[in-house]
């Protein structure tokens, strides 16, 4: 079974990064070039293997392809856990994304991280990160998914805190980890709820028994689904746990790219897509609203941010909101499609921003300017001619994310918006969902072009820097070009066998939505049918909102016809809220952390002042007193009187008896005869 390439290759893809992690973390310092070639080699190998798998899938064209292998991990009679992998089209596409983005990250990091003090550790952690993400992707059961889930958390913690000498980086990694824990608790509760009802961890038995409707249904299933979704909220940075992702920008930029595009945040969406059949309609409504709120909220924040990476971070949050919204409205293949396209253009955007920041660093370094923030867009401008590769590839990706036709984002966003629209058409009470969706789409176009205009166009804001700005090295530009070109629509709409007669792309044919396992839900066909009806309307609307967004950005930041300053002053209240990220951190701090800390202080005070001092110490004193008394009694009464008395008595008797023991044989014999005499006398009388 393991010889089957469909099982062997995924296993290799899973474990090669782990191997590279082990080698590089333990022996990296001794290897030439600190072992980066091990990491890069292994990850590129996994990418090639994933390409093979993808090609196989593409050529065989079997929408129902599914392969699995598992082994028994824990077997305690009734309690059994099998670990295994599940390979189907979804998995293969996801593996391709992960390995592609991870390979690009590795190659990009070769230049970006050159000379870093923990160079080998960085590459080792990248391997661990990829391994854990592959673990999530390949899991065929909730337990191994959960384990990999936590591993992703750990490796993100390690990578965000790579420069842990900086307080902000250390805090950000802590924040990311702890925020994720909140979601993971929900995930775990969901898993346990499902297990207690179904008695299995593997996906297929769970789906079957939910479809049966006997084991678990109704509110319990909704709660279990929402618990599992909580994991996704944490990992995919959804409202209200989105606060960690922008802070995670403290990590190295390639890590941000990896995390935002393929590994960490994608995990939540992938998990929702994978487990879509277990969500009840009520759970899906909650999911949809969370996604919509996240999308609009993050977009509103991104509008006013000045840090180039912060803009991208909030844009990621917003796009993830789109995906979750799609899952919530039932068009979860659209969510996955958006995950795929988003992975490409968002990774590229991060690489481009990394490239910009990299050259800013160099320029600032040359100008001996250590005060200017290299990530602040207000310090940039006019880089277009200095770094053309970066500019063009970033422009392509921006067009993609803005949802401009002929680019990948248009396809996926359109599919999501169509699904949302059709959902609202059938459930008019949820009209806010498409409204938020379209508004977020418009804002996306706006802030992304704001970024482009502020960074690359216009006049340089600081002249001294611009003359030192230059294109980044090949290690950095090649992933940019590769990923930038992948933002074109053609890669996602290629029909089977490149047959131009087919009107559907490979994705739509291969990633077929499954019916929800929950009885009474709409079937996948119905959802697709409804979405199809809403398709043209959605396409038109999204085109309109995208052009409005781009136009506004153009007018405000390129032509400066509309003064951004005026608007921000006019809507000062909203601007403040947006700039300060809706005061989430502050509010969490004020209403969550501080009360918690106060409660903890109070409890610790109570604990120390009363419990410890009076109760515990009182016990101690009482025990001491009792033990003194009992010790006295024990020593003088029992030991001295009773035990020693025994000893003394035996001693005395022994001394007496000792006289009898002469050691002379004949004395003994005499005693024997006398004894016999005594016995005879006793017998006789």
């Amino acid at each position: 079974m393991i010889e089957n390439p469909m099982i062997l290759f995924p296993l290799l893809i899973l474990f090669l990064p782990l191997l590279s992690f082990i080698i590089v973390i333990f022996f990296g310092n001794k290897l030439p070039r600190q072992g980066d070639w091990v990491a890069v080699g292994s990850i590129v190998t996994t990418f090639l293997l994933a390409c093979y798998l993808f090609l196989q899938m593409f050529l065989n064209y079997d929408p129902d392809f599914s392969h699995g292998a598992s082994f028994s991990w824990i077997n305690l009679g009734e309690f059994k856990i099998n670990l295994g992998i599940l390979v189907d089209n979804l998995t293969i596409v996801m593996l391709l994304i992960v390995t592609l983005v991870s390979s690009c990250t590795h190659i990009f990091s070769l230049a970006y991280m050159k000379g870093d003090i923990r160079y080998n550790r960085y590459f080792a952690y990248l391997g661990l990160f990829t391994f854990s993400m592959n673990g999530i992707v390949l899991a065929d059961n909730l337990i191994s998914m959960y384990m990999s889930w936590e591993l992703v958390g750990v490796s993100s913690y390690l990578l965000i805190g790579h420069w842990f000498e900086k307080d902000s980086a250390a805090n950000a990694s802590k924040k990311a980890f702890l925020t994720n824990r909140v979601g993971d608790i929900g995930f775990f509760i969901g898993i346990m709820l499902l297990y207690s009802a179904v008695g299995a961890f593997a996906f297929n038995p769970i789906f079957e028994s939910i479809a049966g409707g006997q084991a678990i249904a109704g509110t319990t299933l909704t709660i279990a689904g929402l618990g599992i979704f909580m994991g996704a909220v944490g990992k995919s940075s959804q409202f209200p746990l989105h606060i960690w992702l922008p802070d995670a920008m403290e990590g190295p930029t390639p890590v941000s790219a990896l995390m935002h595009a393929a590994t960490m945040v994608a995990a939540g969406v992938y998990m929702c897509v994978r487990l879509f059949p277990i969500f009840t309609p009520s759970a899906l409504i909650v999911i949809a609203y969370i996604g919509a709120i996240t999308a609009i909220l993050a977009a509103l924040i991104a509008v006013s941010q000045n840090d180039i990476k912060k803009v991208l971070a909030y844009s990621t949050v917003s796009q993830l909101g789109f995906m979750i919204l799609a899952v919530g409205t039932g068009v979860y293949t659209a969510a996955f499609f958006h995950l795929l396209t988003h992975a490409m253009f968002k990774a590229n955007l991060f690489y481009c921003s990394g490239s910009v920041i990299h050259s800013m660093h160099h320029a600032l370094h040359k100008a001996h300017d250590h005060d200017t923030d290299p990530q602040d867009m207000r310090n940039m401008g006019g880089f277009k001619d200095k770094m053309p590769i970066t500019y063009f590839s970033m422009l392509v990706s921006t067009l993609a994310i803005a949802g401009v036709p002929l680019f990948s984002g248009f396809l996926s966003k359109d599919a999501i918006l169509a699904g949302t629209l059709s959902f609202a058409q059938h459930h008019p009470e949820h009209f806010l969902l498409p409204f938020f969706g379209f508004l977020a789409a418009a804002l996306t176009a706006f802030y992304m072009f704001r970024l482009i205009f502020m960074t690359f166009h216009g006049n340089p804001n600081i002249k001294s820097i611009v003359k030192n700005i230059h294109e980044s090295p090949k290690e950095m530009t090649s992933p940019i070009v590769l990923l930038g070109s992948l933002s074109f629509f053609i890669f996602y709409t290629l029909p089977h066998n490149f047959n131009p007669m087919k009107d559907k792309g490979w994705f739509t044919d291969l990633i077929v939505p499954r019916n929800s396992a929950v009885p009474g839900s709409l079937t996948a066909n119905e959802i697709a049918e409804y979405a199809h009806h809403a398709h043209y309307l959605a396409m038109g609307l999204s085109l309109i909102v995208a052009s409005i967004g781009i136009l506004l950005a153009y007018l405000m930041y390129q032509k400066k016809v509309i003064s951004a300053k005026n608007i921000s002053e006019k809507f000062g209240f909203f601007y403040d809220w947006s700039l300060n990220k809706f005061y989430f951190d502050e509010n969490y701090n004020r209403y969550l952390y501080q009360p918690f800390l106060r409660l903890a202080h109070t409890i610790s005070w109570l604990d120390w002042e009363f419990y410890d001092k009076y109760f515990i110490n009182g016990f101690g004193k009482l025990t001491k007193l009792l033990s003194t008394v009992s010790g006295k009694f024990d020593y003088s009464g029992i030991d001295q009187g009773f035990v020693d008395g025994f000893g003394r008595a035996s001693n005395t008797v022994g001394k007496l008896l000792r006289n009898v023991q002469t050691g002379r044989l004949q004395n003994y014999l005499l005693f024997v005869v006398a004894g016999i005499l005594v016995i005879i006398i006793a017998q006789a009388f």
Partner: protein, 162 residues
Amino acid sequence: MADIVFWIISALTVMSAAFVVLNNQLVYSAVALLFTLFGTAGLYVFLWADFIAGIQILVYVGGILVLVIFGIMLTNKIKSVRISHKSMQQGVGGVVIFWFFIFLFLALTKAPWVVTEAIEPVGTVRGIGILLLTDYLLPFEIISVLLLGALIGAAVLSRGDS
């Protein structure tokens, strides 16, 4: 006549036995033991046990007594025939043994012995021989093995360290 001889032999036996245990000269004790053994052999004759009497003289007088005298000679510097040795706890021992004898005497006189009369056999050797090789074959073999063991053991023990 036979009774007189019996009592003479009995007296000889008992008196020389008393001499054995009371006398202070070791060699004299050994010689007195010779008389006791002879007396015992005489008693055997009165008990129609001709074979046992013969064996008594052969083994005891000819074997064991010689062995005892050899033992005396090997364990004393021989300057004269008087090898004195002391006794101990004779007072207490005498009292205890006396009372022990009293009780033995009372027991054997009071006991209702069943006596079956028989005629005197021509000889006992034949009967003993048949019994030894039929009913008592196993004890016979065992005792012979024991004898062999004692022989080897005695040889090994008295050889000393070499």
